[in-house]
Amino acid sequence: MSERSVFAIPNIQTPSSPVVFDSNVCTGCNNCVETCPIDVFIPNPQKGLPPIILHAEECWYCGCCVDDCPCPGAAKFNWALPMKPRWKNKESGELHQLK
């Protein structure tokens, strides 16, 4: 990483990444690119790779990209930090938050 160029670019918009792709599973079929109603993604210029998240801050969290993904495990939904739900184990009282 340290050998790479450092670019002068604006701040990265939030959420940083509403969806996380596993490039070992994703086949780059771009079904999510076509399904997303607001064009959060663009196809990756390299065929076979996960799409590129371009308009992350426009994501309205409908989840259709992940729901309709034909490759199980290729795409995981990733709410921004202030949106991650919390729950409690009723018996033990142990508290959890979605990772």
């Binding site: 790479r4 160029s5 670019f7 670019i9 990265i12 918009q13 939030t14 959420p15 940083s16 990444s17 509403p18 969806v19 996380v20 792709f21 490039s23 076509e34 399904t35 997303c36 109603p37 607001i38 064009d39 663009i42 196809p43 990756n44 210029p45 790779l49 996960p50 799409p51 590129i52 998240i53 371009l54 308009h55 992350a56 801050e57 426009e58 994501c59 309205w60 969290y61 409908c62 989840g63 259709c64 992940v66 729901d67 309709d68 995981k76 939904f77 709410w79 921004a80 202030p82 949106m83 739900p85 919390r86 729950w87 409690k88 184990n89 009723k90 018996e91 959890h96 979605l98 990772k99």
Partner: protein, 649 residues
Amino acid sequence: MATWHEYLRSEGHPPAWPYPVRFEQEQVIDTDVLVIGGGIAGCWAAISAARLGVRVALVEKGDVVRSGSGGPGCDHWCNAPANPLSRVDPDEWAQHMADTPYTNGIGIQIQCREDYDTLLEMEQMGGKIRDTDDEYVGAEGRDDETKLMISPRYGTRHSYLPDPDMGKPGFNPPEKRNNVVIRVWGNTFKPILKDECKRLGVQVFDRIMGTSLLNEGGVQGARVVGATGLNSRTGEFMVFRSKAVIVSTSGGGSMWLMSMEHGGYSNMQSRANSGDGTAMAWKAGAALTMMERTGGISIATGLKHKWYTGAGDASYENVPIVDANGRRLPYPIQGWEDAGAMLAAPEVEQKIREGIMKGEYELPFYGDFPAMAEVERRATWDLMLAEESTTRVFVNTMKQGGFDINRDQLMAYKFIEGQSLPQWRDPGYGGGLVVDWNLRTTVEGLYAAGTTMFAPEDHSYAAATGRYAGRKAAVFVKEVGECQVNRDQIEVEKNRIFAPTKRDSGIEWKELHNGLARVMQYYVSEFKTERLLKMGLEELERLEAEAVPQLFAHDPHKLMRSIEDLSMIEYAKIIIHASLARKASSVPLGFNRIDYPEVDPADWNKFLTLKLENGRIQTGELPQGFWGDMKQQYEAHNKDYTGVYKPKN
């Protein structure tokens, strides 16, 4: 590597725009019926028109497969009084719904008569509407013969508020319930609707934003004979020539709110809900009504949670709300015990707040799934939530994250987050196009369905009115001749659309959206006066004169967002004009004129209409119930209606 910045780090340059850029190039399409907006209403309109043998084109800003508010799913098929388990008469139920002031008696009558037929057609196409896999045997509301599953909603009356008889012995027994709301597997619906459009030969144009309507001779108010559009990936300009147009877009969206970041988190609905159809119909000369009606925003402000949380919200049927010690709160649970009540009476809200202060109820609160009967728990989580819109991905991600409804309680934020503020408003409360019994607007050739109409309802309403509008538009186009579009009108629109592409810098769409939101917050808040409204109008006109000419867009997507801003500014101006025209306050309209404090005086109990004529605003009025006798009018206009579609084969 999946984000643009990772790509930049890896490749040393940003990704090139992945689609061919064709700003200002034109494509011309000829059709009979053009449908603008491919959500639930638009798909049904296209399908029903195509089934009558006319040529249909369907234009959608996203991709029809999942676009629109009903794209991800639908869990409640509401107000289906014609279903076989219903205990109410469809015409009586419709009349009862329309007795509420400022409703749409035409749309309601269509919904009550035809939305069960619409649901059966959905099933014909492959949509799941019954528990055919016997997953929920034993669940309350499940009919073992039809395998339809009735929801507790509207069990005793058509309201989210508790029935005063709640808790009394014999309250809401199964044999006396209305049974007007059906639980459905709505996640299956939208892709099926797209497939059916294609099967019927509908020309589907995805990623095309409708931008304007074309009038015969280019004259405002003359017959609508087509529309223009913008491809949000290529920037190509589309000209549609058609004998009729059905507008089935969303209403206005986030006019009062915009976060610079988390844009989609800070809005209840998609940013795509920008009132384009309303704005274009307005400019084409169609009359609008109820545009002064706005409401407070309860969730999804960026400062409040986005999805339904824990309990006490739509879809969380029957989930008890408990405090941190497991003590049950007296909040209604939209369940069998309260006949579907979802909102607490003010005294109950107060009791809970006082209980929090005294330590009687300890925060945080939870939705207590484990306390529910097993089958009811699954019905709520795996059917209601997993089939409803944006909560499907919530259910699936929570499951993957380790949440287990049999063991865990989901945290609810309802009483932690504050109440809605005066300056947070939402326009999606009923403003829309005036329609007649053919769902035709006040302009010949222009029809409306779903949310674009005044006082719309929900998913099944969108489906039923879309299906109806498609049928009526198809009849119209079979009777009329061709029309010519006006080249001057097209050129004016083309200049408007592509102006932001001529600039390299200036004001970007997000800043303009924020500028609009600030004007609405300061001058069109809960508190309205002539002075404030006129100041708001002046500021919007200044935005148009000074900021809009600085709009810049470097790619087709940002150009689409820029044009959406222009739709929202137009929509906002109409809201202000309508607010100025109503010189009285009104509870059902959520309308508080401080300078006209009298609430719902008899002489203002009417619909105000606004339309453009030669560029000038004309106001008018319509009496409550202007649609006449609903049953008689419906039957007079639908003598040939035979119910569920029978394919030819």
